[in-house]
């Protein structure tokens, strides 16, 4: 017997959706009730998510689903449904919990905004769509929710629509992810064509189960790569990563919720969800599609970490860090560490949301200044923000022992080291760890240490509505580390469906020392370089060319502008020219034939038919004019005429006789 929650799992996304619709329908533009409604909706979703989490604990690898027919056409029935397994349950809890913290934080951060209610309606809508992605048991339902998530992202990035840069960023995010989604959609069609079902689990008939995988066969590689292109777009992987840093134009809670903790993780989640398609026919755990995933992840992780070093916008640094961490998760999935990747995803959801709303607190305190070079010395005026930010920074950098992100990152490194294909990703990841520690140290020094520069002079600590979520997330980040250590890898076991054993000896592993050394190297390097950092970046002074290269994001935007965008612009101009001169020319030629014929018939009409009629009418009129002279209206004249007529007849008669 399946628990009540399995059949009613749809309630989890439905509650925030209802909250969103209620806010849109009834709330005024700045009503506090909107925030209350959204937060209550999120709270109910959290309770339901926990209710859904409990049954998944009963045995390792427990899974339940509920399918139904959406509609039928001809003999085909489109069936959708939802699935509850450790992957979905863990994601549900993470999304609703992080979401709740960010909703509360938004109440403080957006308090001054004149579209306060609309913001909460969009946030709730996003939450509903994201929860829909997580519980979907059908690639079709997942795709629908996936697109709704993209829509919510678009609406929220462009929330400050009066800023042209925000509008442009929203458009860029939407179009860039759409490129990936096009591939995703083709992948879905191909999958449906070859397996005949889009349900993941369906009592052995689903496309991720043995019968479905058998039907997919050799085309699995291509289907997996097409689906991966959707994940590349959504998760900001190279080469479609360009939208994510621009998405920071949105309000900071949006960056925290969507562009750090949840939506961008959807790509990683997607790959994990359809992992059987990627690993089909694996030799030694390696398939062509997984190899692609690994290398895309490696390139993304390293490139983004490098770019992050030279950014000045506090949120952009975090955005590139997100891109880099997502790359890391992809590497983990690619080398076979699905559980490790998802663990890092969950931990990342907490600590990156923490960092982002911490940056939001900093931005709020510095009166909406984003440039870290204008901050400094904030640790004394914003102690809570400083401490929680430090927790986030150390988690992201990978300082061992107390921080969940460090353990999960170590787990990924561990998995990568055992990849049979090549050792290169492992060493590149190690370099990435050093870079991560370096750019986070740089950010900390610029923002919280040193002299108080221009924007920091009148800085103030944020109100409690913003600091409490920070503390909750910081505690969550630390608390999560209990279940992710190698000594008691409960989360790993939970996700991969194995029983977990407690073994304190495994806590200390060689990898721990390696990562400790690397993090120490990164932070030490950071302290060395940025120890006396002022308004001018030391790296910029010593390596101006390299710095400019990184500051301009490796000129990838410019590269796209000169290749893809220039190409499509040329194509557009060419099509315009074709339309204007060739197709239009044809149309005009046909038009002129008609026109010439018209002129001809007009001539015939005017000179021939019309003239003849005119002539006839003219003479008739002349006759009429003459005749009308007779009709003087004088009855005596008429009578006289009658008399003369009679006389004439009489004379004629006499003449005849």
């Amino acid at each position: 017997m399946s628990p009540w929650i399995v059949d009613h799992l749809w309630l989890v996304p439905a509650v925030p959706l209802a909250a969103s619709l209620l806010i849109l329908s009834f709330a005024g533009s700045r009503s506090k009730g909107a925030a209350a409604l959204a937060i209550i909706g999120q709270l109910i979703a959290l309770v339901l998510a926990v209710a859904a989490f409990i049954p998944t604990l009963q045995e390792p690898g427990w899974r339940a689903f509920h399918n139904f027919t959406w509609f039928t056409f001809g003999e085909n029935a489109v069936r959708i449904g939802w699935v509850l397994d450790p992957l979905a349950a863990a994601m549900l809890v993470m999304i609703t919990l992080v979401g709740l913290c960010i909703f509360v934080f938004s109440m403080g951060y957006m308090a001054e905004d004149k579209n306060f209610s609309r913001f909460f309606a969009y946030l709730s809508f996003f939450s509903a769509a994201m929860l829909g992605v997580v519980i979907a048991n059908s690639l079709l339902l997942l795709f629908v929710c996936w697109e709704l998530v993209g829509l919510a992202s678009y609406l929220l990035i462009g929330f400050w629509i009066h800023k042209p840069s925000a509008a442009a960023a929203a458009k860029k995010a939407f179009i860039t992810t759409r490129i990936g989604d096009l591939g995703f959609f083709f992948g879905i069609l191909w999958l449906y064509g070859s397996s005949g079902t889009l349900l993941f689990y369906d009592d052995g008939k689903g496309c991720l189960e043995s019968a479905g995988l058998l039907a997919v066969g050799a085309s699995a590689t291509f289907i997996a790569l097409l689906i991966f292109s959707g994940a590349v777009g959504k998760s900001g992987q190279f080469p479609l990563h360009v939208w994510l840093p621009e998405a920071m134009e949105g309000p900071t809670p949006v960056s925290a919720l969507i562009h750090a903790a949840t939506m961008v993780a959807a790509g990683v989640f997607l790959v994990a969800r359809v992992y059987p398609l990627f690993s089909l026919g694996a030799v030694d755990g390696v398939t062509p599609s997984l190899t692609v995933v690994v290398w895309v992840g490696v390139v993304t992780a390293l490139m983004a970490a490098l770019i992050a070093i030279a950014q000045a916008d506090i949120k952009r640094i975090l955005a590139y860090s997100t891109v880099s961490q997502l790359g890391l998760m992809m590497v983990s999935l690619g080398v076979g560490g699905v559980a490790a990747g998802i663990m890092h995803l969950l931990a990342h959801g907490f600590f990156k949301a923490l960092l982002f709303i911490g940056s939001g607190s900093v931005i709020h305190g510095c009166h909406h200044e984003h440039d870290i070079r204008k901050m400094g010395g904030l640790r004394r005026v914003m102690p809570v923000t400083f401490l929680t930010y430090a927790v986030g920074m150390m988690t992201l950098s990978g300082v061992p022992l107390f921080f969940s992100g460090a353990w999960t990152k170590e787990e990924i490194l561990h998995q990568t080291a055992h990849w049979p294909r090549s050792q290169a990703p492992f060493y590149l990841m190690l370099a990435g760890v050093v870079l991560t520690a370096l750019y986070m140290t740089r950010q900390m020094i610029y923002v919280f240490f040193g002299n108080r520069r221009a924007a920091a002079e009148h800085a103030h600590e944020s109100p409690r509505v913003m600091t409490v979520p920070l503390i909750v997330l910081a505690l969550g980040t630390i608390a999560l580390s209990i279940v992710v250590t190698p000594a008691w890898p409960w989360l790993h076991a939970y996700l991969s469906g194995e029983p977990a054993r407690f073994e304190i000896a495994r806590l200390i592993q060689p990898m721990l020392f390696v990562s400790l050394a690397l993090v120490a190297a990164g932070i030490g390097l950071g302290l060395l370089i940025y120890r006396r950092a002022g308004a001018f970046d030391p790296l910029e002074r010593s390596q101006p060319a390299l710095f400019r290269f990184l500051e301009n994001k490796m000129w990838i935007d410019e590269l796209y502008a000169h290749t893809v965008i220039a190409f499509s612009r040329t194509a557009a101009v060419l099509s315009d020219w074709m339309d204007r001169y060739i197709w239009d020319g044809f149309v005009r030629a046909f038009g002129s034939i008609g026109q010439a014929f018209g002129i001809l018939t007009k001539g015939v009409d005017e000179r021939g038919i019309n003239a003849a009629v005119d002539e006839g009418v003219g003479s008739a009129r002349g006759v009429g004019r003459v005749m009308s002279l007779w009709h003087s209206g004088q009855i005596q004249t008429y009578l006289g005429a009658v008399a003369i007529g009679m006389l004439a007849l009489l004379l004629f008669y006499v003449w005849l006789a």
């Binding site: 009709h631 003087s632 209206g633 004088q634 009855i635 005596q636 009578l639 008399a643």
Partner: protein, 104 residues
């Protein structure tokens, strides 16, 4: 001087011409009516003359026609006068030269 048919016809023709002249030349509608009555009287005189000097003067056929004709003329005069009154009410005139709405 014995009365002969010719004499009656001459009187009748003269009466007709006088009536015609009146109908054609007078401007007042009542006088035109009087002219028409005179022409009618000339025709009646012809009937009587042709009957009196005809083949069967014993039968009162001519008188009957004349009496009918006079009766009809009376009716016609009544209609005519009514028309004249209607015209006068409508146009505030009985001058027939002003009544030219039949003009083409």
């Amino acid at each position: 001087m014995t009365p002969t048919l010719t004499l009656f016809l001459i009187v009748s023709a003269a009466l007709f011409c006088i009536g015609l002249l009146a109908a054609l030349s007078r401007r007042h509608a009542i006088f035109i009516l009087i002219g028409i009555e005179m022409m009618l009287a000339a025709a009646n005189l012809n009937f009587i003359a042709f009957w009196r000097f005809g083949a069967e003067p014993q039968q009162p056929t001519g008188v009957m026609v004349a009496i009918f004709s006079i009766a009809i003329a009376a009716a016609e005069a009544a209609v005519g006068v009514a028309l004249v009154i209607a015209v006068y009410r409508h146009y505030r005139t009985t001058n027939v030269t002003k009544l030219d709405r039949l003009k083409g």
